[in-house]
Amino acid sequence: MANPALSPALSRSKSITLTTNQKAALLFLAILATLLLVWELGARLQWFSPLMPSASQTLIDLWGWISDPFFDYGPNDKGIGWLLLTSLRRVLTGFAIGSAIAIPLGILIGLSEVVSRAVDPFIQILRPVSPLAWLPLGLALLKNSENTALFVIAITSIWPTLINTRFGVQHVDPSYLDVARTLGASRWRTLTKVILPAAAPYIVSGLRISIGIAWLVIVAAEILVGGSGIGYFVWNEWNNLKITSIITAIIVIGIVGLILDRLFAILQNWVAFGRKV
């Protein structure tokens, strides 16, 4: 700015070239337009299965769903807003139950090397199991499809949070603990004022992974358990051969998943205070 020789060159280069963001946005629009065009042409010229709707028809139906999200004409004919709220309520309830188990357990495990090693085989064996494998067990134990969905989501939500919480608690910077010791802090004060805030970024990054997986699993769980929600809607519309509704659901599920992830990213940033995890 202070150098007069530089400023005209800078302003000129600004007017001609685009920023990286602007270029990316243009390319995004170009890709989107190409996809829609190929889709529209393909549907009209019968390149795909006859079930495949055209892009324009899908967009019209998509708008129909989004413009009126909260209608209710009976159990099998609800607006997409109601469907999402049903699924979100399930995910958040199951996620809350799972986190309420995972965070305290992770802290407990992280504080004791003995407990950590003793519990580790259970975690390592249960963690890679597909959440849906728990579904029949849930049905057998709970005899109730609604609670089974919550059970599956809760189990799903446990592992990333548990593992990250344990890691965060185990890897608190030893100098923070030395500070607490030199000040004579009690165990409880050290835990609440030092260990937990120090582990918070890891805990939240575990929660972020958990909510992502929970949102992935809810669709499959609702397809299997049935009754209501966005997952059930996808399956129901497939039975009605309404492909435009399925595509609408896919887009909406993706957007909601993105929003959930962003919310946890904000939370992550909020507890990080310049630290990187």
Binding site: S175, Y176, V179, R181, G184, A198, G274, R275
Partner: protein, 298 residues
């Protein structure tokens, strides 16, 4: 970052300004046990005991500034950790006014090399955390006024609500010093407090410590690598031999009058003699450390 802050009045109302604590390090040895259990024998990874410190004996008079200097790995930090109570001596004892030190306590304030500020607490909260931990009964308003006192003392007024990641290294260590002093310890223990700072900031902070010391005159134990730093700040300089089994080689008296200024320090007749003695000792020890390492590797 105002350098000259009028604090003498505000700090002096913190009770027992001039501590009269006598620190005595009595034949302290520290041995880190090697691995000789059957598991490591099976893996052929046994190691012998490592004697870090051997028979360290040191008397520190009240209100003196003592620097401990020695080659890398000579156990300086181990000794400081033992004084702080973070580590236990294998034999011998550290006595404060005749009472043996068993665990860390608020009578000793510690300044850490890596600052060790809690990233989630602001400058104010970091200092208040220390005060509240040491004495939870102090009313919050009083805690705040003590915090402000020490923020002023280290020249950080205006940065109270900043978090550590928004501060420079020098500012972080000012907070570290304020936190250590705010609990009104009898002894201040500093473990290479300026080791991670660039030369200019380092010099600036050394001047600050000299200024603060003139006001508080607490007993200070400073671990350092820097000869100039030790000469500027200390009343006594403890030179240690190389490890293993590090011992005290020599204790130098630093006779320069106070307050000291780095610009005029080298005009004192004893300055160059002391500096030369320290340089000779440190270079000899460091050379021996490197020679023994070459010997061990071949």
């Amino acid at each position: 970052m105002t350098k000259s802050v009028p604090i003498s009045a505000s700090v002096s109302d913190t009770a027992t300004m001039t501590s009269s604590v006598h620190l005595s390090i009595h034949n302290v040895s520290k041995v880190f046990p090697g691995q000789r259990d059957w598991m490591s024998k099976l893996q052929r990874r046994t190691s012998g005991d490592y004697v870090a410190l051997k028979d360290i004996h040191l008397e520190v008079e009240p209100n003196t500034f003592v620097s401990i200097i020695g080659p890398s790995g000579c156990g300086k930090s181990t000794l400081l950790n033992i004084i702080a109570g973070l580590s236990k001596p294998t034999s011998g004892a550290v006595l404060l006014n005749g009472m043996p030190v068993a665990k860390p306590g608020a009578d000793r304030g510690v300044v850490f090399q890596n600052y060790a500020l809690m990233p989630w607490m602001s400058v104010l909260e970091n200092i208040r955390f220390a005060i509240e931990t040491v004495n939870p009964k102090i009313p919050v308003a009083r805690q705040r006024s003590i915090v402000q006192e020490y923020i002023d003392l280290v020249g950080l007024r205006g940065a109270e609500n900043k978090h550590p990641h928004e501060l420079s290294g020098g500012m972080k260590q000012r907070v570290g010093i304020a936190r250590a002093l705010a609990i009104n310890p009898q002894i201040l223990l500093m473990d290479e407090p300026f080791g991670a700072l660039d030369a200019l900031t380092r010099g600036f902070l050394q001047d600050e410590v000299e200024r603060i010391w003139e006001q508080q005159r607490k007993t200070v134990i400073l671990i350092t690598h820097s000869i100039e730093e030790a000469l500027l700040l200390s009343d006594k300089i403890v030179m240690m031999t190389r490890g293993p089994a590090a011992q005290i080689a020599q204790i130098l008296d630093v006779p320069f009058p106070r307050p000291r200024h780095r610009e005029t320090l080298d005009q004192h007749p004893a300055y160059h003699e002391l500096k030369a003695a320290m340089e000779l000792h440190l270079s000899r020890e460091t050379r021996a450390v490197e020679a023994s390492r070459i010997h061990a590797e071949s």
